[in-house]
């Protein structure tokens, strides 16, 4: 492994660790970190469309589908047709969803409290990766 490849492996390890924490969270708390973040957004965005929710968490709407299905099965959210446009869906958090968010909030905060010192670095890393994706997308076009 040379100097240029090393950061790439670090990224790979970070990805794996996040997945492991996600699984651990789902196993012990009944809700993954990704699901927790979505519920947290939904608290302040009642009856929101999948598009607005995806925008709020900065992911593509199609990426959300599976997570939303899982949350729906757990009864933490409910999905209904938009009365203004039947092609669209509205997503809202349920009382059970709100309760699980409150119950697990302490644990999630405990796990992530030390991350606040890294926030600047994490933000820079995220911007860097996003720039790389944008550059590649431009080249493909």
């Amino acid at each position: 492994m040379n100097e240029v490849e090393r950061p790439l492996f670090s990224l790979f390890h970070i990805g794996n660790s996040i997945q492991a924490l996600n699984k651990h969270s789902e196993k012990t708390l009944g809700i993954s970190l990704v699901q927790w973040c979505l519920l947290r957004c939904l608290i302040d965005m009642p009856a929101s469309s999948a598009n607005s929710l995806a925008k709020a968490v900065s992911v593509h709407p199609s990426t959300l589908t599976q997570t939303l299905k899982r949350l729906d099965r757990k009864n933490f959210i409910f999905i209904t047709e938009d009365p203004k446009d039947s092609r669209k869906k509205l997503i809202s958090i349920t009382r059970s969803g709100k309760d699980v968010l409150e119950k697990t909030g302490v644990n999630i905060q405990e796990w992530t409290k030390d991350l606040s010192v890294l926030e600047g670095d994490l933000h820079r890393l995220r911007s860097y990766l996003q720039d790389q994706v944008n550059k590649e997308t431009r080249l493909e076009m």
Binding site: D44, P46, E81, P83
Partner: protein, 254 residues
């Protein structure tokens, strides 16, 4: 348009209680029943008692086409925000528009007083806007046409907001209920707005593209932009009871 009191409507309504929501109500036909003479309109005792309870729990606004002074005298409770004249009065941020509106309304009123609409037509001077009521007229269709013809000769041409047996005249370009709601949302630092109204003037709120509004119409109407409806004004008490229930501190309000 879906009924508010079905399963999904109620679940969305409950979810509003998890965040900071501003609850805004129209007056005539929503908090109060529609009556033949606008001067007789008032809020029923039970509705008044319920909305007083709600006001203690959450930020409440009343947004009406009535003049602010008239509206306040009919409420019998103190909501955090009261907006009159379709959004022109009560926000205190448009003094120049108000001065101009007084001049226009005086001029329009004088010209309209020369027209003969027959009995049952009343021109209400709301200082910054006019309302021509024809609810008590015998031939509403014909009188409406006569009123429209008389309005067409006014200069400068007013902005018209039709309502239930009433035509409202406002200066062009003045803020409407939709603009007032967005301003109130900012002032209340609310993340979401619940709005209920019954009239065409409320379409300015229902039609807002901002997704952070739960819009409810009193009475089902296919062409309305509101997402939900309650069947009739008398269901307002049921709605208020639900909101109070959802926001009771014992339910673990956020």
């Amino acid at each position: 348009m879906n009924p508010l009191f079905d399963k999904s409507g109620l679940m969305i309504l409950e979810s509003l209680s998890f965040t900071k929501t501003l609850y805004a109500f129209d007056f005539d036909g929503t908090l109060s029943k529609i009556v033949r003479a606008p001067l007789d309109a008032s809020i029923g005792q039970s509705t008044k008692s319920l909305i007083k309870q709600l006001t203690k729990l959450v930020p409440v606004a009343v947004v009406s086409g009535r003049s602010l002074c008239d509206l306040k005298s009919r409420l019998g409770f103190e909501p955090r925000y009261v907006v009159g004249n379709h959004g022109l009065e009560g926000l205190g941020n448009n003094r120049d528009s108000l001065k101009q509106a007084i001049v226009f309304c005086k001029d329009w009123k004088e010209k309209l007083s020369q027209a003969d609409f027959g009995s049952g037509v009343e021109v209400e001077d709301k200082t910054y806007s006019l309302a021509i009521h024809y609810r008590r007229s015998r031939n509403k269709k014909q009188v409406k046409e006569q009123i429209k013809n008389a309005i067409a000769s006014l200069h400068p041409a007013p902005q018209l907001i039709p309502g239930k047996s009433v035509i409202n005249l406002l200066p062009q370009g003045t803020p409407h209920k939709g603009a007032a709601i967005l301003e109130l949302m900012k002032r209340a630092e609310a993340r979401y707005v619940f709005y209920i109204g019954d009239d065409d003037t409320d379409e300015d709120v229902f039609g807002l593209l901002d997704a952070k509004i739960m819009s409810v119409r009193v009475g089902e109407k296919r062409s309305s932009h509101a997402r939900f409806y309650i069947k009739r004004q008398s269901e307002i008490n049921h709605l208020l009871r639900l909101l109070i229930h959802y926001h009771r501190p014992t339910r673990g309000r956020k």
